[in-house]
């Protein structure tokens, strides 16, 4: 049996969209963007459900934000998570990764769990810190960039992805936080049966007071990083378009690579 909590975030899909920065430069216009579960979290929830299916136990999914976050939580429930909790409070607005970690830890500390999975990073702000900070605040070990998880009698044997093609294998006792890297499994599709099964399920909502955290610990005042502005880098001044027939283009490309010392 293994009880796993998965922290998920709803993020805009900016991969093919035209990103427009708002006038105050501190946000992007998101009215025309489509939103979905953070890609890394999608692998984290899949890994948690796979572990539950293999070992028994329970998967609880937690998200921070307004009612729109329910769509992401419902998606996790439809795939096989057992419970969902949404943490929401006006005081949470403007939280950085540290403040979000404080909010999550306040909710998680009272729950029964063996492991907490988070995505290794979020596709929108790419901070990549929430999981580690969450572990520190909970006072439990963590591992980042996790590409494999095996759980045996409360001990996890995990693989981590390092730079330069290196891999590391660690043994970590429960409880622990794992920041999940993409690609460690193949996230399943949502089934109609799954959607139907959870259609009537209520998602409990908890505010700051419910999880025992005060307003000055969260939001902008409780954050350590203050977002100043977004900007879009100037378009490709260094890009060189190689033209000509495929043969000519390949020749020119090879010459450039040789000149820059690639061979």
């Amino acid at each position: 049996m293994v009880d796993i909590i998965v922290c998920v975030k709803r993020v805009p899909d900016t991969s093919e969209a035209e990103v427009i920065i708002k006038d105050d430069k501190r946000a992007i216009k998101d009215a025309d963007l489509t939103f979905d579960i953070n890609e890394w979290d999608n692998y984290a929830i899949e890994e948690a459900i796979l572990k539950k299916e293999a070992l028994g136990g329970k998967v609880t999914v937690i998200g921070v934000g307004g009612e729109e976050v329910n769509e992401v939580l419902r998606r996790c429930l439809a795939k096989g998570a057992d419970e969902a909790i949404r943490l929401t409070d006006p005081a949470f607005d403007g939280s950085d990764g540290y403040a979000i970690a404080k909010i999550l830890s306040a909710a998680i500390k009272d729950l029964q769990y063996d492991f907490v999975f988070t995505g290794a990073q979020a596709g929108d702000d790419s901070y990549g810190v929430t999981g580690q900070m969450l572990a520190e605040i909970l006072g439990i070990p963590h591992a980042t960039m996790v590409t494999k998880v095996d759980i045996n009698n409360g001990t996890a044997r995990i693989r981590r992805e390092l730079e330069g093609g290196l891999e590391e294998v660690d043994e970590i006792n429960k409880p622990a936080v794992f920041c999940i890297q993409t690609g460690l499994n193949e996230p399943r599709y949502v089934s109609i049966m799954g959607i139907r099964k959870v259609s009537k399920k209520e998602i409990p909502v908890k505010a700051a007071a419910d999880i025992g955290i005060s307003a000055d610990e969260v939001g902008e005042v409780g954050s350590m990083v203050k977002l100043e502005e977004f900007s879009i880098p100037p378009a490709g001044e260094l890009a060189e378009m190689i033209e000509g027939t495929p043969d000519e283009a390949a020749g020119k490309l090879a010459a450039i690579l040789k000149e820059k010392g690639a061979f």
């Binding site: 329910n70 769509e71 419902r74 998606r75 439809a78 599709y189 949502v190 089934s191 109609i192 049966m193 959607i195 139907r196 259609s199």
Partner: protein
């Protein structure tokens, strides 16, 4: 009045879209070229509950409303009309759901949903399509059996089906012309049953189409669906529901073609700036988007009426005709936006263009739809 999909419908839409984008894209061109039914993807779709989702949970279905299940068809067609036809592997099951006896429901419906069987519906003949009462296939009673003889044409799933609903002339002497027909469930393994695949379709080539020959095919009397002599009425009632499905296919195809046009217009540069900066192109896209939205609203309304147990034949026909025409229009305009690139198979728009036309033809040509609408608003002249 609320024009928003429910949260559950939005989830269904997203689930269907993700599945189609994940599974259809890579095989669509091959299935089209080789006229190949995508058996593996069909099986996967069954496993996830997309096929036969409208059927009640007691038969293994999703228990969805008609509108909910049409959202799946729409999303499938948005990604690829040919592969999207896996939705039609239950075409004919509506007969049993609407008119069948409980034993028939228990026997025939669950295996369709689990991906063990495929069904079909055979009305059209070489000399009778929209003119349903002009069919020549006969059914003659012989003891506890009926003996069927005749030829059926353009039958979707003809060579891959396990059973099909067949309309035959069973009571040629009945006083009223419309009361001369009965609908039967025919096992495709029956002696005397043969199916030959029709090659060379213009579009939806991943979908199987066949000519069926019935030569002294013996059918037990338990296989009559609904009442004897009521076959023609059964077929009309069936089409009142299933035609909305064609409307949903059309909305999906049109939406997919529109999205391709927008994408291409943003990427393609002419005279030093993206194509979409030109008002002529913007107007095209605006007209396409408006018609897609109008078609969608007609289809959703017709389906919502069925879900509210108030099916409306004229509304169904309006949805089917207008959505089909919209698909043809939008595919044409989208290909125009693509220019030369749209005319080669490197881009999927040519497949959409070829596939759109059938939506104005099958399950009631647009002329028949207009006849139905005309009679409703003007009476019979």
């Amino acid at each position: 009045m609320d024009f928003e999909l429910t949260d559950e419908q939005k989830e269904i839409k997203k689930a269907a879209r993700e599945f189609a984008e994940g599974e259809f894209t890579d095989i669509a061109m091959e299935c089209d070229r080789e006229e190949k039914f995508p058996r593996d993807v069909w099986k996967k779709a069954c496993k996830l509950g997309f096929i036969g989702a409208y059927l009640p949970e007691e038969y293994g279905g999703g228990g969805l409303g008609l509108l909910d299940s049409l959202i799946i068809a729409e999303e499938f067609f948005r990604v690829d009309p040919g592969v999207g036809m896996i939705m039609a592997t239950t075409f004919g099951s509506e007969f049993i759901f609407l008119l069948g006896k409980e034993e028939q429901k228990q026997k025939y419906l669950p295996p369709l949903i689990t991906g063990e069987t495929i069904c079909a519906a055979a009305f059209t003949e070489p000399d009778a399509g929209s003119d349903v009462q002009g069919i020549q296939t006969t059914a003659v009673k012989d003891g506890d059996e009926w003996v069927l003889n005749g030829t059926k044409m353009f039958i979707t799933n003809g060579t891959i089906a396990d059973w099909m609903i067949v309309l035959a002339k069973s009571h040629p002497d009945a006083k009223k012309d419309a009361q001369r027909f009965t609908t039967f469930i025919v096992d495709c393994k029956s002696p005397g049953f043969s199916a030959e695949k029709i090659h060379g379709k213009m579009g939806i080539r991943a979908s199987d189409t066949a000519e069926i020959v019935l030569s002294d095919v013996r059918v037990p009397k338990e296989n009559i669906v609904g009442l004897p002599k009521m076959g023609f009425y059964n077929v009309m009632q069936f089409f009142d529901v299933t035609r909305i499905g064609v409307g949903a296919q059309a909305v999906g195809l049109a939406q997919g073609a529109l999205e391709m046009a927008v994408k291409h217009a943003k990427e393609r540069k002419v005279f030093g700036r993206p194509l979409i900066y030109n008002q002529g192109i913007q107007f095209k896209l605006a007209e396409m988007a408006t018609r897609v939205e109008a078609a969608r609203n007609l289809v959703y309304k017709a389906a919502a009426l069925v879900d509210a147990m108030k099916p409306d034949a004229a509304m169904t026909s309006m949805a089917k005709w207008y959505a089909g025409e919209t698909a043809v229009y939008v595919a044409d305009e989208s290909l125009q936006v693509h220019g030369g690139y749209g005319y080669i198979d490197e881009y999927p728009i040519e497949r959409f263009y070829r596939s759109a036309k059938v939506l104005e033809i099958y399950e009631g040509s647009k002329e028949i739809e207009k006849m139905i609408i005309g009679r409703t608003i003007g009476g019979k002249y």
